[in-house]
């Protein structure tokens, strides 16, 4: 979890924030004005200042908020002037938007507000759909509007070019005033309440937010057009109301509630992706007819309210289908206000002591939580005065009131909370009043009031009014703990600012606060004091006594053990049952007995055999695997069992593993396999990392002969072992810096593997991904689209292929490790586009789908997504806060531990980022440097000599010029055209070689790279059916290939190694096939172990492909370019 903030305003209008990483409230010194209220989300905080204007504080980020403005310059050819600005009267404007309809000269572009600045001047875009244009950027056409091409033809009569300019939002980490302009001039009255949310209504990349505001006269306004590129939004739109509103609350999703002046509540209905401001209101009665509601707070699935008597209420039965809920539950505790933050966590301000409280025990299954817990955190300016008297409120009846008396003495109201719109302002003022009057006023005037309070409060509690629509009240058992921590605070009587000793809060907002840390914060003593033993001794690492102990222990081992290993040649056998995926048809899981025999050999090495006993036609048979021949144990996706596959070199050739289902035996077998190969401890810096489509991470220790030529170790013999964690991709270099990216785009840095019980470097890791199902419909003339298909049709609820029935009810998370974390939602982000309801249309199943209905379309489908979450542990630490889609680490470099190591990444929005501060000691680095691009990028790789290559979303390649240790971000991009008619997908740069993979699975080699012309000259096709490529520091080439034919089965996602790669022949000759069946990613960028030179007297060093080496192993099977339907259990890990 990255650091996030809890925001609060005290009764003097000072704004404070409490960081999840910090231990005290930090005052927001930037706030020149006093604030009334704030509402926070993760990326920013909105507030109403005492001038009743709205201010926005956008948190600064390594990736700036920038917006690309574009306009087109249009020209027409005439015989006299050639191409010129003289257009025909019927033509479009000389400067226009892309459609030509809007007049857009360069000087018509103005900054939207003073919070923006231009990044540079206008310039011409010389990229045309992934292809570089001629200098000048012109694209040509026969006439407006027509198809443009980048080359001038004889009939090109018009041309146009695109100009772009960036503006950047500059008012970060400061309160920027938002002009209160409505559609027709300034708004009539000032603001009084504000609430921000709604980020879950539409897809994340756009980052849309909803902002609701209430004016002093009780009108509600909705701020339009707030999204990532427009943090301030565009304007206010008034929302019609059934009454006058005093306060409003907006959740992360489609929940919006408001409180009416009369004390009822209203609920907004009809909020959707296309209509975030909703359509209508529904009135809900106050929990207590005697005391109307004064405050409401909503979250994802919860509504909390406070009534005039300061009682707190929880609304039952809220869900996405029923935003109104079904009934109120009275809660313990009296609050001035409550606020619902992230994950439905609840914050409140007590009316007793004005402290911020956190609702403990709020979980998705118990949304109402358990008890209120005070957040006792000091403020940054707190200076404890030791002369002050410590007074306990509970014990001392004459203690001053926690809240100052109302300002107006003429109105003898005994502390009924004011529902007037500016109650907090008046309270602020009243506080000041008290301060000015000095201590005497506070002590003389106040003691009577709390007594009155008690007198009033108690009878009310004893004779409860008839709870009209209240069906439950929280049991009072928590009372003791409920508000117990209010006990003491210091009161400084002699000092003018005495009352300030104990912060009196007016408002709190947890909308930007991830709350995982509260467990830690609530136990600061524990969190800071217990330290693991390994840390305690680090300063004396080099002491003589330690050296002595190390030396003596190793001497002792030699003396007492080395010569006596033959004493123990034990055999032990573990027996049990597991399930085996039967080798013959029909394939199914059958119960088998197994025995794992382990023995220690004469050299003290462990070895073993796994036996599986089964019956075949009533005949007893067994299957066995020598543990030292097992090359990998792969967990396999199965929604109900814990299953795994066992491969040996032979079974890798066959593409036919032993598949087993057993709950715990995988760990035991893994240990046996590592023991038998004598492998323990962390992976070496040279390790090869790979990731399966299940997200499991594997490492292989490369032997020196792996890259030998001509006799490399066959890669089906490589031994892979699993490393904890869950990632989508992992990248490393030969210095041991390893980064990973999760399915949810979280960036992770490898912490080193503690090994065994030492969990020092092992952390909790979470990942989130979506499960997708499809709703299919067919059109018929009578009823239109219905869920009644033809008898031959696919299931009306299915998987992507349509072959498997998948309904909302029966779809399961991918494996027992995953749990659902949200409900089904329509996925609008599917390729091909969708209509407003998420439908995609096609003439028939299965076809290519498009996002709008035409006359020829008879079927439609839409994709539903449901998020599920995995929690695991592994040697990974999060690198917040920017989510990534790709990462690359320089191949060699850094000799010292403090030398910077270049690391580049692509954010999930396509920004190119360069990490600063990455060294051997600090592999996580410190901050991102944003590298500007004219379009989003998707893949990046940095090779030897700081060569950076990247692939843009439009499929074209870019080379970054002048990257060096002095200029880590380089200076400009060189556009490299893609191979003919292909859109590139991924790039990997080795010591000198550059390889790319395109969207159709072709592997390309960049030819003509020289030190003086690093961009090279052309792409050369190597092979097809390639999914990913990784080029290493020896220029070795490894890929993930599809459709690799084995003797028994075909496998997709297979690790392959290019054979015959030599300095003079970087393209190599053929492929060697390794582990496969569901591999998604490999990186060999750590392996810099040069193979020992083999002298081949009969062959000259300049051996080329024309010579066939007679000793070379038989040519491996080719990558079949044919479509073969996947055999059912051909893949160890099915996608």
């Amino acid at each position: 979890m990255s650091v996030s903030l809890l925001w609060a305003v005290d009764v003097y209008g000072r704004v404070y924030s409490l960081s999840t990483g910090g231990q005290q409230w930090e005052q927001c010194h930037d706030a020149v004005l006093e604030f009334k209220r704030v509402t926070a989300v993760q990326q920013c905080c909105w507030g109403i200042a005492c001038d009743h204007h709205i201010y926005l504080n956008v948190h600064s980020s390594d990736v700036p908020i920038r917006y690309q403005e574009e306009t087109y310059e249009n020209q027409r050819w005439n015989p006299k002037d050639n191409f010129s600005d003289h257009l025909l009267p019927s033509d479009r404007w000389h400067w226009s938007d892309i459609t030509g309809l809007e007049h857009q000269p360069l000087d018509s572009f103005l900054l939207p507000s003073t919070n923006w600045e231009w990044e540079g001047d206008w310039y011409i875009d010389e990229n045309f759909g992934g292809e570089p244009t001629e200098k000048g950027g012109w694209t040509y056409a026969l006439d407006f509007p027509a198809t443009y091409i980048k080359d001038k033809k004889w009939n090109s009569c018009v041309r146009r070019r695109r100009w772009i300019r960036y503006r950047r939002y500059k008012a970060t980490d400061t309160w920027a005033k938002i002009p209160s302009e409505g559609h027709s001039g300034p708004l009539p009255d000032p603001f009084n309440d504000i609430s921000c949310g709604g980020w879950e209504i539409s897809e994340e990349p756009r980052g849309r937010l909803s902002l609701w505001a209430v004016s002093l006269q009780g009108k509600v306004w909705f701020r339009e057009g707030i999204h990532h590129h427009s943090p301030e939004g565009e304007g206010w739109e008034e929302v019609s109301l059934p009454g006058e509103v005093v306060q409003i609350s907006c959740g992360p999703g489609d929940l919006v509630w408001a409180v009416l002046w009369e004390g009822q509540l209203i609920v907004r209905e009809g909020i959707t992706r296309d209509c975030p401001q909703g359509s209508s209101w529904v009135v809900v009665d106050s929990p207590n007819p005697e005391a109307g509601a004064i405050h409401v707070a909503v979250g994802d699935n919860v509504v909390w309210a406070v009534t005039k008597d300061n009682k707190v209420w929880f609304r039952r039965g809220i869900n996405s289908h029923n935003p109104c809920g079904s009934g109120w539950i009275g809660m313990v505790g009296e609050m001035v206000m409550v606020n619902v933050g992230l994950n439905d966590q609840v914050w409140g301000i007590s009316c007793v002591d004005r402290a911020v409280y956190f609702r403990q025990g709020v979980t998705s299954s118990e949304l109402s939580g358990k008890a209120w817990k005070a957040v006792n955190v000091p403020r940054d300016g707190d200076i404890r005065s030791h002369s002050s008297a410590s007074i306990s409120i509970g014990a001392c009846p004459s203690s001053p009131p926690p809240e100052p008396p109302p300002i107006d003495p003429d109105v003898p109201k005994p502390r009924i909370p004011k529902v007037t719109s500016d109650s907090f302002i008046s309270e602020m003022l009243s506080d000041r009043e008290v301060k000015q009057e000095g201590a005497t006023a506070a002590t003389t005037a106040s003691p009577s009031i709390p007594e009155e309070e008690v007198a009033l409060g108690e009878p009310e509690a004893m004779c409860l009014p008839p709870w009209s629509n209240v069906d439950l009240e929280e049991t009072q058992t928590h009372l003791a703990v409920g508000l117990s921590s209010v006990a003491t605070y210091t009161l400084c009587q002699g000092e003018p600012y005495g009352a300030d000793e104990h912060p009196l809060w007016a408002w709190v907002s947890g909308g930007g606060c991830g709350v995982n840390f509260w467990t830690l914060l609530s136990l600061p003593a524990l969190a800071s004091s217990v330290q693991s033993m390994s840390l305690s001794i680090s300063p004396a690492q080099t002491a003589a006594w330690r050296k002595q102990i190390f030396e003596q222990l190793s001497e002792r081992s030699k003396r007492e053990m080395d010569h006596f290993k033959h004493y123990e040649q034990s055999v032990w056998v573990k027996k049990g049952t597991m399930q085996w995926w039967r080798d013959w048809k029909p394939h199914k899981w059958v119960d088998v007995r197994f025995a794992l025999e382990q023995f220690s050999g004469p050299e003290g090495n462990q070895d073993g055999i796994l036996f599986l006993y089964y019956n075949f036609n009533e005949e007893k048979k067994y299957l066995h695997a020598f543990i030292n021949e097992v090359t990998i144990l792969v967990p396999v996706l199965n929604d109900s069992k814990h299953t795994f596959a066992i491969y040996t070199a032979e079974r890798t050739k066959q593409r036919w593993p032993i598949r087993l289902a057993a709950a715990t035996e995988l760990a035991l077998l893994s240990v046996s396999c590592c023991d038998s190969r004598g492998i323990q401890g962390p992976p070496s810096k040279q390790a090869i990392w790979s990731v399966t489509c299940k997200g499991d991470i594997f490492v292989c220790e490369p032997s020196p002969s792996l890259e030998a030529c001509p006799y490399p170790t066959p890669c089906d013999q490589m031994f892979w072992r699993q490393v904890g964690g869950h990632l989508r991709l992992v990248e490393c270099n030969s210095l041991g810096v390893v980064w990973g990216v999760g399915y949810d785009h979280t960036a992770w840095v490898y912490t080193g593997y503690g090994g065994g019980f030492f969990q020092d470097n092992i952390f909790t890791q979470t990942d989130v991904k979506c499960v997708y199902i499809y709703e299919n419909q067919r059109w018929n003339p009578v009823t239109g689209y219905t869920n009644r298909g033809l008898p031959t049709d696919r299931y009306m609820w299915s998987d992507a292929t349509g072959l498997q029935e998948c309904t909302k009810a029966n779809a399961k998370p991918p494996s027992p490790h995953w749990t659902w974390v949200a409900d089904w939602t329509i996925d609008y982000g599917i390729s091909g586009g969708t209509d407003r309801e998420g439908w995609q249309y096609a003439a028939d199943f299965p076809r290519s789908y498009h996002g709008h209905k035409t006359l020829k379309d008879f079927v439609r489908r839409r994709r539903w997504a449901r998020k599920c979450k995995l929690t695991t542990t592994g040697p990974w630490q999060e690198v917040p806060p920017i989510p990534l889609s790709d990462v690359t680490i320089v191949l060699c470099g850094a000799q010292s531990s403090v030398e910077p190591i270049p690391l580049w990444a692509i954010s999930n929005k396509g920004d190119v980022l360069c990490r600063l501060g990455v060294t051997l000691l600090t592999p996580a680095g410190t901050s991102w440097l944003h590298v500007g691009t004219d379009q989003p990028f998707k893949s990046i790789s940095i090779g030897g000599a700081n060569q950076v290559w990247a692939i843009a979303r439009d499929g074209s390649a870019f080379y970054r010029g002048s990257v060096s240790s002095e200029s880590p971000a380089g200076d400009c991009w060189y556009h490299i055209p893609c191979p003919e008619r292909q859109k590139l997908q991924q790039v990997s740069v080795g010591r000198t070689s550059v390889y790319t993979v395109d969207q159709n699975g072709n592997l390309w080699f960049r030819q003509g790279l020289t030190p003086s012309y690093p961009q090279g000259s052309s792409w050369e096709h190597i092979c097809n059916n390639v999914r990913k490529v990784s080029v290493g520091p020896l220029d070795q080439v490894w890929i993930i290939a599809d459709k690799v034919q084995g003797s028994h089965s075909l496998s997709c996602g297979t690790v392959c190694h290019r054979l015959g790669v030599q300095p003079m022949e970087p393209k190599g000759q053929s492929w060697d096939y390794g582990i496969g069946g569901g591999w998604d990613h490999i990186t060999v960028r750590g392996n810099s172990i040069e193979a020992p030179r083999v002298r081949m007297p009969s062959l000259t060093p300049s051996l080329t492909s024309s010579l066939t080496d007679p000793l070379r192993p038989p040519p491996p099977r080719s990558l079949l370019p044919v479509m073969v339907t996947e055999m059912e259990n051909g893949n160890a890990v099915r996608c």
Partner: protein, 275 residues
Amino acid sequence: MADDKDVLRDVWFGRIPTCFTLYQDEITEREAEPFYLLLPRVSFLTLVTDKVKKHFLKVMKAEDVEEMWFDFEGTPLKWHYPIGLLFDLHASNTALPWSITVHFKNFPERDLLHCPSNSVIEAHFMSSIKEADALKHKSQVINDMQKKDHKQLWMGLQNDKFDQFWAMNRKLMEYPTEEGGFRYIPFRIYLTMSDRPFIQKLFRPISSDGYTHTLGDLLKEVYPVAISRDDESKRYQVVIHGIEPLLETPLQWLSEHLSHPDNFLHISVIPVPSD
């Protein structure tokens, strides 16, 4: 070796090559072959000698067999001392393998405790751990553990599972940073030439003025004889796990890394061999 964690591993996996021979007076049906075994230094004799028993029972009649016990050169070996301690104390300067004599008769009631089953060893082991934690953390850590955690410690030792044991034992080795160490160091000093079985006193890892106590400080305080003066030749070896740590080694570090699984630092003070 550069990592302190490797010390734990080395300590745990320390083995003493041992040759078990049947006592000459035991009645056998045929000649008993000696039995060779690698004994884990951190375990207990009766916990790891099932095989020895099985081996010798093959040549003996059931009626001639009573509770098995061991001696080394006439000294009965106390099963409730860790094996490594027994070796260091009695046999550290003898040739390997360690030659242990096996008896099935004449149990030396005065010298040894009976050990009818593994549960007796477990009880002894757990009581040591509890005593150690009482010294280290006023029993707070061990009392916070659940029954199954206690079981995990024992099962780790019994099954020689380093990871299983340390996953739990590391909690017993934690301490508040600001205090710099345990409350008291659980240690026992064993002397060969003494009637007292061992010396055990309250001793803090850090002095009241913040000075880090070393192994030398402990000996000076508890058994000064063990430390030879500058002007005399060394008379005693101070042995832990078969090695002689330097006297300036911090006691806290020793307690964390060289304690036996029972959480005690078992220190043998033995005379320097005269030859």
